[in-house]
Structures are given as structure tokens and as C-alpha cells.
Amino acid sequence: MLAAGDPAPKRRVRVDEPERVLRLAANTPGELLDRLDEAGSGDGPCRIGIVGPDERKLATARKVLAKVAAEGRSWHGGGDIWCSVDPVLPNGKIAFVHPGLEAGAEPRIDDVAKHFGLDRPQWSTASVLDRAASVSATGLVLDEALRRLAIRPDALAGHSVGEWTAMQAAGMYRAEPGLLQRYWPGGFELPDADYLVLGCPAARVAELLPGDLVVSHENATKQTIVCGPPDAVAKFAETCRGLGIVARTLPFRSGFHTPLMRPHLAPFARLAAELDLREPALPVWSATTARPYPADPDEVRELYLVHLIRPVRFRELTEALHEDGFRAFVQVGAGQLGSYVTDTLGERRHLVVAAASGTRSGLAQLRRVATALWTEGGSTDFAALEPRQIRLTTGNSLLTLADSARGLLDDHALPAGVPDAIVAEFTALLTETRRTAADVVAAAASRRIESTVDVSLAAMPYLRDHRFFRQREGWPDESDFRPVVPATTLVDLACRAVERAWPDTTAVAVRDAVFSRWLVASPAQRVPLSMSREGDRVSVEIGPYALLTVELGAFAPPPSPAGVPGPETTPPLTAEEIYAQREMFHGPAYRGLSRLTGLGEQHIRGELVVPEAPGGLLDNVGQLLGCWLMAARSDGLLAFPRSIGRLTWHGPEPAPGARLGCLVRVRLPRPDVLEMDAELVRDGRVLASIEGWRDVRFPCDRAAHRVYAFPDRHRLSDRRDDGSVAVTDRWPTVAARDIYAGIYLSAEERAEFAAVPPRRARGWLLERIAAKDAVRARLAEPVYPAEIRVHDDGRVSGRGRTLPDFAVTVELTGDTAIAHLRSTP
């Protein structure tokens, strides 16, 4: 059938007639050939699509069809013809693959943006950042345009920066404006490293690679990219060319996807920590792991960073997608990414088509995408490509695959899993890459210092005053208290370690500090600490727990102290009451709140006395922020530091006992995020300024906070008339559940909880909370939840105390668990 286009407007000189697309479908190749001679409607798995058909193309199409019929292999795009007698869709899945940075690759998409009413993104290659922003913005426009054509991917993936585009297209996060200003206020800095594109397999590269270069991308079976210092790259390029290997240097420098990025990681880590991550609308695959992104936001943040320092394994990703049933790959942009897929998959059946081109107009290219997918059995809305005023409805029958075509994939067994030899080769390659990466780190950063930190109550006795959870006096298991190293103690630890490593230096500022997970001191552990220095900046990594940049030098002159920002009232509680009522959970070594002097809409002021614990002064700035939260809000009352933008000292940190004034200015950029700027003033002089300190808030209302503060005397459940107790789930995230599990479970039970399948975790915890509360509701005296052990058969026993012979029956309905207590004989 012919999909008629828009007749050319009559009175204009320029004629913009959209190309027509001839699409024919039939049950057999022979039938299809007949249709080609005498166009007629029909349906079936054998399809041919010709863009802009004319006599010459029709003649070519006959030859194409004869070849496809004889060989069974599809024809994709040559001569503007697509043809398949054995379609890969709809049984196969569709992946959108977003390109990364390439030489050239400027797509023509102005007409696409105009046609679909989307903003036309700017294209600039002035800097690596501009290039990345251009590729991403273009990708998002094309992604939207493809969806308007009713082309629905089953998953998204990307190459390098394209992976970020894919994440955004899936709704995992949105690129916030002002990104540069927030994370790179002093300018965006990258390593000065060249990329060399080599026309050979990664295994061959591994044989030749000198120690000062690393593999940064394995693009395809026949293409590998290495990265390193420009002179070393130039030398290696000559070596390769001498061996007949095509080698060319990319026209931009950076060290992404190599260990060279390590010293530049801190701002990215903070960015990742602060991303407002959402569940993706559809799976996004990572080229770092060659698997879909993990579901847990913290793991996503981790992978986001790992992606910056590990090679892009696009070849392996392509293999994995194919293995998972992906057969159609739509390249969401111009460039060569699709050719990597084709090179890797070779003879295996698949379709690759680019959604944009550097030479053809955007809509013309999309018409080819639609034709390609339709020919391979996919469904697309061709009418969406036509000018608005005469949108045609094409018959749907042609656009779906007939039943007779289903199961075609079953008849032609696909190659089984990747052969062992390839797996072995890849494993060897990875080992090699890791080894070389280590060498590069050693060579390029002789200023890198590795050590370990003893994190235990013996080494850090003050952590007894920074226990998250309360237990009965004399409770034997320290881990049930969860003593945690506070973020500010980690900052202090990093500064002191840097000063020890480079004697006669002073740590005067910290920036881009990120605290990724709790660093727990019981059981004791040794945590790796690594420092890499570039000029006056030292990037400090404390295991997987924290990453920050310490700046060395002279103290910056202090700004003049800020005035009181707005009207204020007397804070509802005094500093003594804050600790006595456990609004703040801290023990003496971390207690520094001395007076709370004023509470405003968006600020709080107080006086602090420097406590004994290292980092204790800054911890109290965080506590003051917590006091504002407790006074000003009724939910989300538990908040813990996630990142600090910048901390500047204007003089040496004062000794314990010194008294300071503190002003905290509060913002709530998102419901789950609390942000502050703060200022510490001593003797009328600003001693330290804090910018962009962010806490993450956890679901916790007043009543739940009382349970957190005094778990022996309060319950999360409500008592019902019949004597049973009911508890409703109010902790939807894994991280929030972890807190309530900490309040209610002992070490042994936490181990059981960890082994519960993720789907069951919510219900399991609710049932335990309800069971323990049912027992506690019956007893006259205060009992900590960890003192009660609930067994699988409903019996309960005391831990370190005797309990009456109780058994509990728990029913879980939706979000609510109801527990009945019964006496056992």
C-alpha cells in the first residue's frame, strides 16, 4: 500500500513534499514479489518497505527481495529498502541505545523538534561538557519523537555519556539547571588524557598495551579505545599503525572511564548523592556491568560513580542484550554506535537503525526508522510523521504481525550462550585491565597514599556517645546499639590524615563531601583510606563510606558575620531538654548545644560549646539543624547528613570547651531533603562557613520519634479494643525500614531479616513489630523490643529476662499487621 503524504502547498515556491513510503506485506516471499509488481493490500510476516519509491528503486527492490528470499537474511536500508521474510519483532525486544561522545556526529533534528513541538537543543562542541550536553539533549528530543511514533522500547542503554541520557529518558533523574555552578563553582576540571580509537579487538590491545595506558572502552568486536597521557597515546598510535591497526585520536580530551578520573571524583560523588532518583519507567542497562541498573537507589549512586572510573563494556552489553532477547537496536542520535552493535553481533539476526543522521533531514531519517521497524514486524504510527493538518490513519492490520508469523523465532534456534572461550578471553581481559589500571594509578599518581583506619570502639571510644539505637542498661551486644562514625568525624579524620601525610600543611577547607553509607564501629573493622593529591587539593576516599576533597593552604579571611535573617521566636525546648528528652540522641562526648537562642521560619540560632569528640563541633551544627526540623515540622523528623558542598575554616578549630555562636539557614529543596548554610562565630569573628550541607530525611512522625527516643516505653502500634495491637507500614523505603529494624530487632533477628526475600521484607518486619508490641502492651514494665525474641511458630521468649509463656498470632492485611496475644499452656 502507499502511504500518501502531504500534497505540496500550491502557492509556495519551495516544495516540501514528504517522501512516500511503499510498504508491502505478504505470507510468502513469492506473494510479496507479486505485490511488488502489482501493489495491493495484504498482510503477513514477509515485508518490504521502500522509502521514496521510484522505478529504479522498485527494480532494486526485486533484486533485494530475491536475495532475501534465497538467503533468509533481512536487508536493512541499502538503497532505502528494508526487507525481511523472517522478522525479529515482535518476538524480539527493542532497545534504544543512546550515543556517547564521538567525532562529528552532529545530527539534523531541527525539523523533528519543530514537527513535534519540542525545544530544539543547541549543538556545541566547544568543550567536552558542551558536547555531552548537546548529545544528551538531542537524545532526549529523539527519544520523545520515537515514542510519538508509537515506537516503544523494552529497555534503554547508552554508551558513556549516553548512559546518563538513557537514565534521564527512563525518568531516573532530571538534569537540574545550575549543575556547574553547584558542583564545579571553580570551573570544570578533567584529566588531560587522549583517547585512541583502535580498529582491533580488546584482547589484541591487551597484548600490546604499554603500562601507562588503559582500556577505556570496549566498543565492539573490532573496536577498542585506550586512554592515557597524550605523548604516550601518540607513541602507541604509531606502534599500532606499524602493525596495520587503524588508530585515530579522538578530538577531545578527558579521562572518563579510567582511574585517571579518581582525583576528580568528589564533585561527581556529591552530585550522585544528591540526585533525586526515581524508579525507572523501563529497565536501563549499564555498560559498566552489562546488566540492568540495580533497584536500590544507593546502588544506583554507586554504579553512577563506578561508571566514571571503569571501562565502558559496550561489546559485552550488546552480547548481554542479545542474550536477553533484544533484536532491534535503535540508535537515538547520529554517529557510529549502531555500527558497534552490528560489528559485535555479526551474522546473528538483529536490526540496527539510527534515529538521526548527519546528512539526511531528521524527519526523513525517522521515516526510515519507522519503515525499518515495520519491516521487521514492529508497529509504528507512520501518520505521526505526516504534516499535522492531514494526519492519515493507516490501517492497523498492516502494522501488526499476523498469527502465522508468531513463533518464527522458535523455528530458527538462535546461537546458544556465549562460548566458554569468549568468556575466558573476556575474564582474562578484565584481569589485564585491572592490573594495568592499578599500574596507571601507581604511575600517574605517585602522590596517592593508601592506608587503613581502625574503626572500633577501642580506637574511637567516643562513639559510645554516638549510638543510633537504645538498649537496656548493660545490654551485652554492642552491635544492637549501632555505634556509627558521624559524618563530621569522618571529615575530621580525613583532614587530620591529610595533614599527617603531608607535614607542615593545614587543611583549610573541605568540599564535595559525600557520605554514602553508615560506617558502623561494632563489630570493629579496618577501613581503607586513600588520598590522592593534585596541587593543593587532596581527594580522600574512606572505603565505600565517604569521599571528599580536602584543600590545603592558608585560612581564607573571614567574611563579616551575617545578621539575624528574619523574625524569630524562642525555641520550644532548651538545650538541656533537647538531650534529656532525646530529641537528639547524642551522648556527652557529642553534646555541644548550650543555648538555643532563636527559631525562625527558615533559620535557627544557638550557642555551642566544643565537645570532646573529634568532629564534635560540626556535628553540633548538624544537631542545631535537627532542632529546627523537630520544632518546625511534624514528620520526616529523622535526618542524617548525606553531603556537604563546602566547609571553609577561617582559623584553627578551637579546643574543647570553647564557646561559639552558630547560625543555621534552612532550605527544603525537596520533601526528603533538608539543606543548610551555616556560620560559626567566635568572639565576633566568623570561624567557619558551611555551604550546601544536605541531610536526607526519613519518614518519622512525632509518635514514631518517641519510639526511636525511648523504645522501652513507646510502641509503633496502636492498641485495639479487643486487646490486640495493629501497626501500619509507614516506612516505604529500604533505608527507612533499616532504621525501624534497628529499633526493633536484635543482631540475630537482623540476620534473619537480611535473608528474607526483598518482596517479603516489608511484611516480615511489620509482623515482628506487631508481635513484639503485643507482648510489650501486656507487660507492666518498660521492655526494649530487642529483649523479646519472636519465633517462627509464634512463641516468644525473653532475651536476658524472663517473660510469661506467651504466643502471638499475627495477621498481615495489606499494609497493616494485627497481633493477638495468647497464653500458652
Binding site: 582491533c200 573496536q223 599503525r241 578530538p251 555500527s339
Partner: protein
């Protein structure tokens, strides 16, 4: 390089290319035919063609070195004539 040698070389290069891209479309390969736009080949295909040339003419026909000398960023703009000339120079009987 003699005219005969040049035209014989071109014919062989054109034949090798036709084998690579197929002859269904009936594209007439001339010295002006471009790799990227006319033949729809990408950088990665050039790698394949480089090894085809080496296989046929021997190791002295090293396309990798030629591309570096020409300071060619990419296949964009590369013509069959360019390649044939290079092959001709390298294989010229002295």
C-alpha cells in the same frame, strides 16, 4: 606509477569493495565514490577493508598508516580514488 598500473589497481580495489558491500544495489564504483555517504560504510567497516587490502596486496599496503598521514579524522569524505591511489603507490613495480 604507470597509467595501466593505476587503472588495474583501481579495478581490483573496486572489486574488493563490491565484494564487501554486495552488488545488489548496482552502485557503480568510481574514483569519486565516497565510503561513508555513497557506500554507507562506517569507521569500523574501514577496519575490515584495511585487512582485506592487506590480505590481498600484502603488509606494505597499510591503510592504518595512510589514514594517519592523511590526518583523516574519519571515513567521512574518504573516496575510493584516494584508496586506489595509495594502494597503487605502495604496489608500484620499481
Amino acid at each position: 606509477m604507470t597509467i595501466d598500473h593505476a587503472s588495474a589497481t583501481f579495478d581490483i580495489v573496486a572489486e574488493l569493495l563490491t565484494e564487501l558491500v554486495g552488488d545488489v544495489l548496482g552502485i557503480e564504483i568510481t574514483p569519486e565514490t565516497t565510503f561513508h555517504e555513497d557506500l554507507q560504510l562506517e569507521s569500523i567497516d574501514l577496519v575490515t577493508f584495511a585487512s582485506i587490502l592487506t590480505e590481498h596486496f600484502g603488509a606494505e599496503v597499510n591503510l592504518a598508516e595512510y589514514l594517519a598521514e592523511q590526518d583523516l579524522d574519519d571515513v567521512i569524505g574518504l573516496t575510493v580514488g584516494d584508496i586506489a591511489r595509495f594502494v597503487g603507490e605502495r604496489t608500484c613495480p620499481r
